[in-house]
């Protein structure tokens, strides 16, 4: 890494902050950390980090509110840290503009992988007409999807779904968000549509549909487009 990327950690637990600082510094990132939401917002404004790791359980403010305030002007990736079994919180945070989430306890290898993927995909130019993922290429302009140079036959809904996920590669999209974007507001509760179409799409684009690498399920939350 030529230029050190700055990562801001907003978490009230000192051991976690310390561990993250050691791990991230060792991987070549510059680390700043703040124990409260208020200080976090100030640090974000003064240091312009490339990525923020935000704990949802902060002492002075609800993590979701901090995220909302951040998202008024901060457009770089935010990764949510949360305790297990708070799916509602995670979904709300993702819908409020978080890019990804991790539940505590997590493995630092996993965290580093997520950070790298998130930063990379946020830097990727999204206005290119053709997106390429390994052997898969998606031509947004002409609605042509090719796998190993073979054109795939996709229905228009399948294409919209693939398009939406691919454009947001690396980012976790919630069920509700995908349903709203692809099918419309009236379908926001109809998860079964999503399941059927995802299964269908996997059969067409994945090398091994039972071990998907592109359309990744985030259990109970949504889907993410891998690589």
């Amino acid at each position: 890494m030529n230029e050190k990327e700055t990562i801001l950690i907003i978490d009230d637990e000192l051991p976690i902050r310390r561990l993250l600082e050691i791990t991230l510094s060792a991987s070549g990132y510059k680390v700043i950390h703040s124990p409260t939401g208020r200080e976090g917002l100030i640090d974000a404004a003064t240091h312009h980090p490339s990525l923020i790791i935000l704990d949802l359980g902060l002492p002075d403010a609800d993590g979701k509110d901090v995220l909302k305030k951040l998202r008024e002007w901060f457009f770089k990736p935010v990764i949510i840290l949360s305790v297990r079994d708070s799916e509602d919180e995670i979904i709300a945070a993702l819908d409020n503009g978080a890019n990804d989430y991790l539940t505590k306890p997590f493995r630092s290898g996993e965290l580093l992988a997520r950070i790298r993927a998130t930063i990379r995909s946020s830097e990727k130019k999204k206005d290119e007409p053709v997106l390429e993922f390994g052997t898969l290429s998606i031509d947004m302009l002409n609605h042509i999807v090719k796998k190993k140079d073979e054109t795939l036959k996709l229905t228009s809904t399948e294409f919209s779904l693939l398009n939406l996920l691919a454009k947001n590669q690396g980012r976790v999209l919630t069920h509700q968000y995908i349903l709203k974007e692809v099918w419309g507001y009236g379908y926001i509760e109809q998860t079964q549509y999503l399941r059927v179409f995802v299964a269908q799409l996997r059969k067409k684009i994945e090398d091994n549909p039972s071990k998907p690498k592109l359309l990744i399920t985030e259990s109970g939350i949504g889907y993410r487009f891998g690589e």
Binding site: R84, D85, E87, P105, T155, T157, E158, T191, Q192, Y193, R195, V196, F197, V198, A199, Q200, S210, K211, P212, T217, S219, G220
Partner: protein, 510 residues
């Protein structure tokens, strides 16, 4: 107030009917004499005597002793007056006739009295039988009744039926205190404060009191203690319109004894249940603390020891990486332990919310096999899901835990390189998941207990709290499904999960 004239009316009616019997006997004897008068000349007076004796016997079948005495005396007199020569006098000429007259009177009398006595005996026997039946009925109903509420209901109904009084019961609360006064008012019975004080006295001294008794007889109600052999369940309070006579009193006491012993049985059962429950929860607490502290200490000591070694002293690359690995394994184990404890407490608190939605079962399998990647490495996992497997209506998070625990268990017990099978299908509106391994299976004893909290098989090398399978059971039951286990014919265990899951109503066209 309305009861008093009613009683008078009743006795007046009996009086009338008694007088009627006297008059009736006179009329019947008179009519018989009239009927027999023409016979006196031709057939002789002996036949008449037989007819009169017959009539007196018939009268005896339904009349009391008084009218029968009257009928016997009257018939002998009229026989003498109208039929024994010389006619129309009470004078008897022949010695034979005097003897006949005497015998006639005696036979009429004995006949009448005996018949009456037989009738009385029969009436007594019948009422005794009725009481025996009533008692039998009561015993039967009481033994069928479960719970104090039902016993009181049966007791009240039977007492009403056989004694025509409306009783109310005040029971003790288990600590030898009568339940509160308000409680009785709620039952629709308006008892005065003095009634309640009397009830307390009766309960304390186990003696009846109130109206028609020797104690507190000015009270409107009568109060009886319900006495058991080991504890006294409470008291009965009621309002008698007249005192209970001799055998009716015995009948009443027998009734109360039956009710008391049923109530006592119920009380004792309740006490035993409480004791059992306390014992059980005490045992659970002990097991929980013992096994938690034991299970927590193992990974914590590993982490402590390994990190200490790493910090103090120079070690080769190999040693260091081995120590790091130990720390990682211990942390994962600790994390799984905490996860299971959290899940158990979610189940125990009854706060488990099931968030059902349509899911692709393949996603579930992928997620779990990915999480158990390392554990599954020594085995061949064979997953069978039909090509046309429909979406299923489940809680993903809970089912993830279920499948995780079952597969994890299989990994712990199966010999390396053996097959672990996971068969999934949808049949008869049910999602069926089958997990088969080639481990040692379970003993008879273990088969019965594997789903119980803190149960662990003896040879368990994995340690653990013995919570995994009870969490599986709890989560499956939260889906209104069932889980069972059996040994496979050749070797290994087979877990079978069934969860009701309807098919989607609509067909989604892709």
């Amino acid at each position: 107030m309305s009861e008093v004239p009613k009683i008078k009316q009743i006795s007046f009616l009996t009086f009338i009917s008694k007088v009627n019997h006297y008059i009736l006997s006179i009329i019947v004897i008179g009519l018989t004499v009239l009927f027999c008068l023409p016979l006196s000349g031709s057939q002789g007076y002996h036949l008449v005597s037989f007819i009169l004796l017959f009539v007196v016997s018939v009268l005896a079948t339904f009349m009391g002793i008084g009218p029968i005495l009257l009928a016997s005396a009257l018939s002998s007199l009229v026989w003498n007056f109208f039929f024994i020569p010389p006619h129309y006098t009470f004078h008897i000429e022949s010695t034979e006739d005097i003897l006949m007259f005497g015998m006639f009177f005696t036979i009429a009398l004995v006949n009448g009295v005996l018949t009456t006595r037989v009738r009385k005996q029969e009436r007594l026997a019948r009422s005794r039988e009725e009481r025996t039946n009533a008692l039998f009925q009561l015993t039967k109903e009481l033994s069928k009744a479960s719970g104090t509420g039902e016993i009181l209901h049966v007791a009240t109904r039977e007492i009403k039926k056989h004694f025509a009084v409306d009783p109310s019961f005040i029971l003790q609360d288990g600590n030898k205190n009568l339940s509160s006064f308000d409680h009785v008012q709620k039952a629709g019975q308006l008892l005065s404060q003095s009634d309640f004080l009397m009830a307390k006295w009766v309960f304390e001294y186990s003696q009846k009191a109130g109206k028609f008794t020797n104690t507190l007889s000015a009270n409107e109600h009568t109060c009886y203690p319900l006495k058991g052999s080991r504890l006294n369940p409470g008291i009965l309070i009621t309002e008698h319109t007249r005192p209970l006579s001799g055998d009716k009193n015995i009948f009443w006491d027998t009734f109360l004894t039956q009710i008391s012993s049923s109530l006592e049985r119920e009380f004792l059962e309740e006490l035993a249940k409480k004791a059992r429950f306390l014992d059980e929860s005490d045992r659970l607490y002990k097991t929980l603390f013992n096994s938690i502290s034991h299970e927590l200490r193992i990974p914590v000591s590993t982490i402590l020891g390994a990190s200490d070694t790493l910090l103090n002293g120079d070690h080769s690359e190999n040693t260091r990486s081995a120590l790091y690995n130990e720390i990682l394994t211990a942390s994962v184990r600790l994390n799984r332990l905490i996860g299971n404890l959290l899940n158990m407490s979610r189940l125990e608190s009854g706060q488990l919310s099931v968030r059902l939605d349509w899911y692709d079962i393949n996603d579930l399998v992928n997620k779990v096999t990915e999480d158990l990647k390392d554990e599954l490495k020594p085995f061949t996992l064979v997953v069978a899901v039909p090509e046309d497997m429909p979406l299923v209506w489940i809680d993903f998070g809970l089912m993830e835990q279920v499948l995780y625990n079952l597969l994890y268990n299989a990994c712990q017990h199966a010999p390396a390189t053996s097959n672990i099978r996971l068969n999934i299908c949808h049949k008869n509106k049910e999602l069926m998941i089958e997990i088969l391994d080639r481990g040692p299976g379970f003993s008879e004893e273990a088969l019965k207990n594997v789903f119980k909290k803190f149960f662990r098989v003896e040879i368990s090398k994995s340690g653990g709290l013995g919570l995994g399978l009870s969490i599986v059971k709890g989560f499956i039951e939260a889906h209104k499904g069932s889980v069972s286990v059996e040994n496979r014919k050749d070797r290994g265990a087979r877990f079978m999960i069934r969860i009701p899951s309807e098919l989607m109503n609509e067909k989604i066209v892709t």
